[in-house]
Amino acid sequence: MTDETLMLAVKAGNLDQLSGLFERYHRPLFGFFYRLLRDRAAAEDLVQDVFVRVLKYRHTFQERTSFKAWVFHIARNSRLDFARKHPGTDGIPDDEAMPAVEPGPDIGFGNRQEVALLHQALQRLPADKRELIILARYRDMNYQQLAAVMEIDEGAIRVRLHRAIRQLADIFHELRGTTRHAL
């Protein structure tokens, strides 16, 4: 059964079907929040908050909408509310050496260092750019889905994503240069 079919059933009052959507989406949502905030407890709370909102706003889900885009749009709003309530959580973390995520087990030492540096670079991006890159790279969203999540047109999304990637690459290479110099 597709995500959209399950969500339409939830909308029609069959709330038990939300369980299937939770199973499919709690990990991707957790990953999204954790990569943005680097706070496990906050990420778990936000996932719960997303499902509270899915129930609350279920009547707004439209038949031809992508559930994935819809739920990440909710997640984005949830994260923005969190940032408003907890100022400072979107900025550069105090401990820059702490990686946001672990590199995969199948990559070499040199690459591990680079992945760690890249995630430092990611944390230095403004939250909206970081969010865009995370959705595109880790949640496999296409331009259309990103446009739906961000509520802007596809052309604007293309431009924003290009600029975010270029900025990330610039920060990464700057950090890499600094690290090499320090060594």
């Binding site: 939770f22 957790f30 954790y34 407890a41 995969g104 296409n142 690459a169 290479h173």
Partner: protein
């Protein structure tokens, strides 16, 4: 094509290697070393992003909270078993069961079968009481929710689902008095790890100074070392109320010393 025309067209999410396949862009790249460098740096970054592992979620704990949320919502939505009618029905059932127990006491039976019947009866009453309590927690009126969480605090050995519902009320209820009542209800169960973890979470997200200070008192009374980091963050958060920062700093110091 000039660099400023190519700059926002160099990459394509739909492409396997993230590079644009637009012939005009490719022709520009052939001729422009600056854009080639930009592309090389960006594709390297894009590729390395893909080498990171997905963060591991604590699915069991998250599922538990979600199930409690869903159970409450489903119960709420089951017409006509919602609102006051559900409360009245549950209360009537409790009265009936209680009458059964009293009658059983009036006519004591000695058989093993009768004893197990009475045990099952008491268990049924206890479960019904928890259901009634959860139904109260879901009411729209704040005073009813306070009754619900307070009733939960009086149950001797509540199921995990009920405590999760009280913790969720503590974290999400819009009414300060309901959140305070939830906290009071949880005091009896502060030795349970799920309650301790939930309280620390609530401490990190609570905005009302009154409730925050009550939460701080809770973790100090519970001698909960897990709260030290959150207390330090509160103490250093200049956006917080001065009394909250002061209380949090004192509490962190007290917990660090290991005494109350």
């Amino acid at each position: 094509m000039r660099c400023e025309d190519a700059t926002d067209r160099l990459f394509d999410l739909a492409s396997d290697d993230f590079l644009s396949k637009d012939p005009q862009v490719l022709a520009h790249l052939e001729a422009c070393s600056e854009c080639r460098r930009t592309v090389a740096h960006a594709t390297r970054a894009w590729s390395l992003l893909g080498a990171a592992q997905e963060p591991v979620a604590d699915s069991t704990a998250m599922r538990e909270r979600f199930d409690a949320l869903l159970e409450n919502q489903v119960r709420k939505s089951l017409a006509p078993w919602n609102g006051r009618r559900a409360l009245a029905a549950a209360a009537a059932l409790i009265v009936t069961l209680a009458a059964g127990v009293l009658i059983g006491r009036q006519f004591p039976a000695v058989g093993k079968q009768d004893a197990s019947y009475m045990t099952a009866m008491r268990q049924g009453m206890s479960e019904m009481r928890e259901l009634l309590t959860q139904a109260l927690i879901q009411q729209d009126v704040a005073s009813e929710r306070i009754k619900g969480v307070s009733a939960a605090g009086r149950i001797d050995d509540p199921r995990a689902e009920l405590l999760t519902a009280v913790l969720d009320t503590l974290m999400h209820d819009a009414d300060v008095n309901v959140r305070l009542a939830s906290l009071r209800a949880l005091e009896r169960f502060r030795e349970r790890p799920a309650v301790r973890q939930g309280i620390v979470r609530a401490l990190g997200r609570e905005e009302s100074p009154l409730v925050t200070i009550a939460l701080i008192d809770f973790v100090v009374d519970a001698k909960d070392d897990l709260a030290i980091e959150t207390l330090r963050q509160l103490a250093g958060d200049t956006a917080r109320d001065a009394a909250v920062r002061e209380t949090a700093a004192a509490a962190a110091a007290q917990l660090l010393q290991g005494g109350v």
